[in-house]
């Protein structure tokens, strides 16, 4: 009787072990398959479009007339690029300076304040950023445009970029803080004992050492910014045009998808075109994401 229950126990134990290992393996395979499933899904859905138009035409034509079957993505791509690069141009110096300040100069209590600030900023939902953009940044930009003698509703590329910049700041900043923290203190010691001032040490030694990390943090920021949807959509104006200035409205790719998907499915090729937009997002974002990680992995040791 007793030996039976021990046997039973053993069987149950092995079974549990095998079952859990099996489920773990399933999860593992799911993760490995996921990017490919996504990519193939997007390719399949947008392949209809490739049948009718060449890739070059899709990317570089600026004629967007879905009703007559003309799908030129150029205005959307340009809008996305504008918004992304202006936002990174705003966020990059702010993040770099703050990261240096927090890791090299700041007193303990500043750190104690900043850690939750960064965390909360990172956790605020996109749509809240959008509301904030509408309440504060839109009127602000409209006013600023006035100073330059440009009339603008405030719903513009610049507004989208500012909102986006604030959104990616916590993300980029966290990476940069980590980058500066991992630099060994002995490098500072070496530089200081050669008669360098603290600032010279930061500028010529630490930032040089951090260089690959800095570049990749910006790259990751770009990948984050490029796909951001709701917040940008709410403030960027959404007019199909090639924007000629930062006070003009733009229409980035994610906004295109969000505004139209699932609605005008009766127009032929329309959902295929929107899937193509999603494909562009996927490819660009993954490129920047992987590129940045490659930089930090391969160049960190070489400097």
């Amino acid at each position: 009787m007793r030996s039976f229950s021990i046997l039973n126990f053993k069987v149950r134990r092995t079974l549990r072990e095998n079952l859990s290992a099996f489920w773990m393996k399933c999860c593992y395979l799911l993760i490995l398959a996921m990017p490919f499933i996504l990519l193939i899904g997007l390719l399949l859905k947008s392949s209809l479009l490739f049948g009718e138009h060449s890739l070059m035409e899709l990317i570089f034509s600026s004629e967007w007339k879905p009703l007559s079957g003309k799908f030129g993505f150029f205005p959307f791509i340009i809008s996305s690029l504008w918004v992304t690069f202006i936002s990174i141009a705003i966020a990059a110096p702010v993040c770099l300076l703050t990261a240096i300040y927090l890791t090299q100069y700041a007193k303990r209590f500043v750190l104690k304040i900043m850690q939750p600030v960064i965390d909360i900023l990172a956790g605020i939902p996109s749509v809240i950023y959008g509301v904030w953009g509408i309440i504060i940044i839109v009127p602000f930009v409209s006013k600023v445009a006035g100073w330059f003698n440009v009339s603008s509703s405030g719903y513009s590329i610049l507004t989208g970029a500012i909102v986006l910049a604030v959104m990616i700041i916590p993300f980029v900043l966290n990476i940069l803080i980590e980058v500066y923290k991992t630099i060994p203190i002995e490098l500072s010691e070496a530089s200081l004992s050669l008669g360098a001032t603290k600032w010279e040490t930061i500028k010529k030694v630490l930032t040089r050492k951090a260089y690959p990390g800095i570049i990749s943090s910006f790259g990751l920021g770009v990948s984050r910014a490029f796909g951001e949807t709701i917040a940008v959509l709410m403030v960027v104006g959404n007019v199909v045009q090639i924007p000629s200035g930062i006070f003009q409205a733009g229409y980035p790719l994610p906004a295109l998808i969000a505004n139209n998907y699932g609605e005008m499915l009766s127009i032929p090729l329309y959902d295929s075109a929107l899937m193509f937009a999603a494909l562009i997002l996927f490819v660009v974002v993954t490129f920047f994401n992987m590129g940045s990680r490659y930089i930090i992995m391969h160049y960190e040791k070489k400097i």
Binding site: L187, S188, A190, S193, L194
Partner: protein
């Protein structure tokens, strides 16, 4: 026996948070000699060494009291411009930390910072200091390579040359051979014996045999206090204190 001292430490106390790391340190470090700070690990040797050029500033929560005089100036006085004083002391860390630049720039970094820009002058200096540490022949063809491409032993010698480049009076070395293989360690020790003709060297170590090989003057520390200090002969042949005796005989490890 000891003629003239270059560093005078008077009543130095150092706290990190509420830990008392260095307790009432009073000692004079002789000029143009190789002084070894000896003791078991964790006794505050490294902290004492770093206080000498106030690198303790880099660590939060460090509080120091007391005075360290170098050439009549109290280094610990917060009003003192420490940047220039640090140049008088070259630092060699536990393991080599070359600056993230080329071999050439590692040597010229200190010179450029103090305003020397002429190319011919810099090149000459690079050769001179690399020869000092017997590295010139090994690297003369690849001065533009990143310093991290060198072997660990070469890197440590490069770091020494870098320290010499700003013409210090004192070399501070914190267990400089602990990351090195025996051959490279030997090379560093030999360099020190050569360099002590012209520099005052303060070296931290916990390796007794190394101390015996190189020391002129020994400071023995235990639990944040100086137990005993004197010439190498005194300490190794005729230690007064029980703890020192035990450590020297090797019954204490």
């Amino acid at each position: 026996m000891i003629n003239g001292s270059i560093i005078n430490i008077e009543g130095l106390n150092l706290h990190i948070g509420n830990k008392h790391i260095l307790k009432d340190i009073n000692v004079k470090i002789p000029e143009k000699k190789l002084t070894v700070i000896l003791g078991p690990s964790g006794c505050g040797k490294t902290t004492l060494l770093k206080s000498l050029n106030r690198l303790t500033d880099l660590y939060p929560e460090v509080k120091t009291q007391g005075k360290i005089f170098n050439g009549g100036i109290d280094i610990l006085n917060p009003k003192i411009e420490i940047t220039e004083l640090r140049k008088k002391m070259g630092l060699l860390a536990q393991s080599p930390y070359p600056l993230p630049m080329s071999i050439y720039d590692n040597i010229t970094y200190g010179l450029r910072i103090s305003g020397r820009r002429k190319k011919r002058y810099l090149s000459k200096r690079v050769e001179y200091y690399l020869r000092q540490v017997s590295l010139w022949e090994e690297v003369k063809d690849r001065l533009k390579d990143p310093a991290s491409a060198l072997s660990i032993g070469q890197q440590q010698r490069l770091c020494l040359a870098r320290g010499l480049s700003v013409d210090p009076d004192i070399i501070l070395a914190d267990e400089p051979t602990s990351a090195l293989d025996p051959v490279s360690s030997r090379e560093i020790e030999e360099l020190f014996l050569k360099l002590k003709q012209r520099y005052t060297i303060v070296m931290v170590t916990h390796i007794l045999r190394q101390a015996r090989r190189v020391a002129d003057y020994v400071i023995f520390m235990y639990l944040g206090e100086i137990v005993e200090h004197g010439t190498a002969e005194q300490i190794f042949e005729n230690p007064q204190n029980q703890i020192t005796k035990a450590y020297i005989k090797g019954t204490y490890s």
